[in-house]
């Protein structure tokens, strides 16, 4: 029975040690798009300050916000990274669990790019082309018909005669939302399909009709020309290795790390880069956020310092480390820095 005694005492010892020790590292979770930026900052933060290196987890924007809203206390996370804005349902859940003070910190913008294999021909796309290639229903002679386009050249004579095969982010990705609203919807409106959907919709009022038409525009082909990827960009890249004629949707920073394999398509004549996205010329981009649990400032050591370090010019400024890695700097960074300094809690969503 000595084994049993030993193990029981070992467990007891562990439990006591756990109670005695307070958490001294930050816990961060959320968007896998923000993850590489957050790890870069965490690494530099741990290296150059006396605080422990924060522990950064991925898992997705929605999952991260949910974890943030689990409550206040040492075994809940301190910051949720998010590639889409927090939803009212999250805020409500946070309130019920006692998380009342959340700081919203916009860290910059992420560009979304279309890329093909470096060995193939170059693409110059417009939202119309993309919609005509992978939208489920397109307008033809004033009526909505199923999309049957086989090659890019059929969509737009200026594009290469290459089979249409697009790997787009799955619906659970934050990236998909931007892809839907900034590319598919634009193309849908430009080709007249939106108006046809609007005329055909059966919604109760104008708002409902608009919503229905938009949702119809977001539908993509199910005949294999458009493939949803639920995994990471690495999965998209692996699928493109297997299908060299395919087109993939990536984040700008992922593309910039893999320029040896990929070439980027221009959108409406603009090549995506940190500069063109910052100036707003390149249309497909979205803001990235950190949601900070203000109630943990002063409780978990280093929380405010980490957020300040993150939004410092050295990191996310025009010449910062993250900008060199592919993050698009926020022109209103100074306001964000001031808000972090003053620990401003976010107001209600407009």
């Amino acid at each position: 029975m000595t084994f049993l005694k030993f193990s029981v005492s070992a467990v007891a010892l562990c439990a006591m040690a756990g109670v005695a020790e307070a958490r001294d590292n930050l816990q961060i979770a959320g968007s896998s798009t923000v993850l590489p930026y957050a790890t870069i900052v965490a690494e530099a933060f741990g290296e150059n300050t006396d605080f422990a290196t924060p522990v950064v987890e991925g898992g997705g924007s929605g999952a991260g916000r949910k974890k943030l809203c689990e409550g206040v206390g040492e075994n809940t996370i301190d910051i949720a990274n998010s590639s889409s804005r927090i939803k009212q349902s999250d805020i409500d859940e946070c309130k019920t669990n006692g998380v009342t003070d959340i700081m919203e910190v916009r860290i910059g913008y992420d560009g979304i790019v279309f890329a093909t294999a470096a060995s193939g021909p170059a693409f110059a796309l417009t939202p119309t082309d993309v919609f005509l290639a992978i939208g489920a229903k397109v307008a033809k002679d004033g009526a909505l018909v199923d999309n049957t386009a086989k090659q890019w050249a059929e969509v737009n004579a200026a594009l290469p005669a290459q089979d249409i095969l697009a790997f787009i982010p799955g619906t659970k990705h934050g990236t998909r939302e931007v892809f839907d609203t900034k590319v598919l919807l634009e193309g849908c409106k430009a080709t007249g399909a939106y108006d046809l959907h609007l005329a055909a919709s059966t919604g109760a009022d104008d708002d409902a009709k608009k919503k229905e038409a938009e949702t119809a525009c977001f539908e993509t082909r199910t005949d294999g020309a458009s493939v949803d990827i639920d995994g990471d960009y690495t999965e998209t890249l692996a699928r493109m290795d297997a299908n060299p004629t395919a087109m993939g949707v990536f984040g700008l920073s992922f593309y910039e790390n893999n320029t040896a394999k990929l070439q980027v398509a221009t959108m409406s004549g603009v090549t995506p880069s940190v500069e063109t996205i910052a100036s707003g010329e390149y249309p497909v981009s979205r803001p990235l956020y950190m949601y900070v649990k203000k109630q943990h400032i002063g409780v978990i050591p280093g929380l405010k310092e980490y957020v300040q370090f993150f939004v410092s010019d050295d990191m996310v400024g025009p010449e910062g480390e993250l900008t060199q890695y592919g993050l698009v700097p926020d022109p209103e960074l100074a306001a964000t820095q001031a808000a972090v300094e003053a620990e401003t809690v976010m107001g209600p969503l407009e």
Binding site: V11, L13, G18, E21, P36, N48, E57, N75, T259, A260
Partner: protein, 447 residues
């Protein structure tokens, strides 16, 4: 046979020449043998393909390119006050050390007469890892006496330069790569010729912690190996005594009735439960209810204990069953108590089987990743956990989840690291399995 009876005169049969039916039976056996060999070949082919792809991608992770240079640690830069006060020394950030390295690099290239092809200082610094400044800073902070002297410092080369000397990056791909240019690589080639760039065994891969996307070249398995080791200690300390105690009771002491039957069936069921279910249980029970910390080896160890217990109980019961009843009877016959017969005779004889089962259970737990996904161990953890028992509660990573998180990184250099991590994991697993086989061979007894 009916032919023999039916025929008036049985046909003379040769014992040497097989008849048609014998030939058919022999052919059927040959076909079956061939199928068996084919099945084994398919299995081997799968193994060889796996090993070839993992070794082909991952072996290069065990070598690393360094740029060796002499760095004068200028006291005017690093210690303005001149009193070697650790707090003041820590004020100099990696930016300050980076400038020091930049100056030394330029100086060294000029001294060695390496043609820099008109590359700017910033472009030359691109040949070095961003980790170099941090390494140098740590070296100085650990030993402030070095300030004022000139140290020989092997700086990590950038992941692209490292990849170039390993054949992963070519001049062609560099021309399209925004992170490195062919001109930079040409300078690197000249530096190699001048003996400045060296490739050596990468022990840091086994000891370094994880690193961010900016410096894949410094990423290592240190935290993951520690985390896995901590978890294995917890699994061993908990599951072996609990599993053995449960098996002894069920096998030797418990009455055989409906309750013990139900328990027995449920243990077998538990062994077949998918591991992700244990992860969900751990999240609900250990983290949300008991309030244990996230990403901590203690939670991982507890959930893996739950997973390993059925394996150990089943193996232990099988080896207890294999001990012949005559040994128990003999012990009881000379006046030993039930407990004495178990602990003096049955358990020692069953020990090899128990240990084999335990090691196989541990090997399975070591390679398990699914339940760890849910308890926050797939995280970027840069700090080493402290020594046990406090370290059990510090955030850590684990070998299989480190593989998972590296395969998701954008920089292609991480693919090499992921394969390298798989090799390390396979080596651990093979060692454990080999140990189990040796134990069984050496100590197993047959009656």
């Amino acid at each position: 046979m009916t032919d023999v009876i039916a025929g008036a005169v049985p046909a003379a049969k040769s014992l040497i020449e097989p008849d048609a039916r014998t030939r058919a039976r022999n052919a059927a056996e040959r076909r079956f043998r061939m199928m068996g060999i084919a099945a084994i070949l398919i299995g081997l082919l799968a193994l060889v393909t796996l090993l070839a792809s993992v070794l082909g991608n991952g072996l290069s992770a065990f070598r690393q390119t360094y740029i060796e240079m002499a760095i004068p640690l200028d006291a005017a830069v690093l210690d303005k006050a001149g009193d070697r006060d650790p707090e003041k020394l820590a004020k100099v950030t990696t930016l300050g050390y980076g400038k020091l390295i930049e100056a030394s690099l330029e100086q060294m290239l000029a001294d060695r007469g390496v043609d820099t092809k008109g590359q700017t200082a910033k472009q030359l610094m691109g040949l070095l890892s961003k980790e170099a400044a941090s390494d140098l800073r740590q070296m100085v902070l650990a030993k402030p006496d070095l300030i004022g002297t000139t140290v020989t410092f092997p700086a990590l080369a950038n992941g692209r330069v490292d990849g170039f000397f390993k054949g992963r990056v070519t001049m062609e791909s560099a021309a399209r790569d925004s992170n490195i240019s062919p001109e930079q690589l040409e300078v690197a080639v000249l530096m190699k010729e001048a003996g400045v760039i060296k490739t050596s065994v990468n022990w840091a891969f086994l000891t370094n912690p994880d690193a961010s996307e900016l410096r894949p070249e410094s990423a290592g398995l240190g935290v993951a190996i520690l985390g896995s080791a901590y978890m294995m200690v917890i699994v061993l300390v908990l599951s072996l005594p609990i599993g053995v105690a449960a098996s002894i009771y069920l096998e030797e002491l418990a009455p055989k009735n409906r309750w013990t039957d139900i328990i027995e069936i449920n243990i077998a069921n538990l062994a077949a439960v998918p591991s992700i279910v244990f992860g969900i249980l751990a999240l609900a029970l250990f983290i949300n209810f008991l309030g244990l910390p996230q990403s901590a080896p203690v939670v991982g160890g507890l959930v893996l204990t739950l997973m390993t217990l059925p394996t150990i109980i089943i193996a232990t019961r099988a080896s207890l069953k294999a001990v012949p009843p005559s040994i128990r009877d003999a012990a009881l016959g000379v006046g030993a108590s039930k407990m004495q017969s178990i602990f003096h005779h049955v358990l020692p004889l069953a020990m090899p089987g128990i240990l084999t089962g335990t090691i196989l259970g541990l090997a399975r737990a070591l390679g398990e990743s699914a339940p760890l996904l849910l308890i926050g161990m797939v995280a970027f953890v840069k700090d080493y956990p402290s020594s046990p028992p406090e370290g059990f509660f510090d955030p850590a990573s684990a070998l299989p989840v480190q593989v998972y998180s590296w395969t998701q990184r954008a920089d292609p250099a991480f693919a090499e690291r992921a394969s390298g991590a798989i090799i390390v994991l396979l080596v651990f697993l093979m060692t454990m399995n080999a140990l189990a086989i040796v134990l069984r061979r050496r100590f197993e007894r047959r009656w």
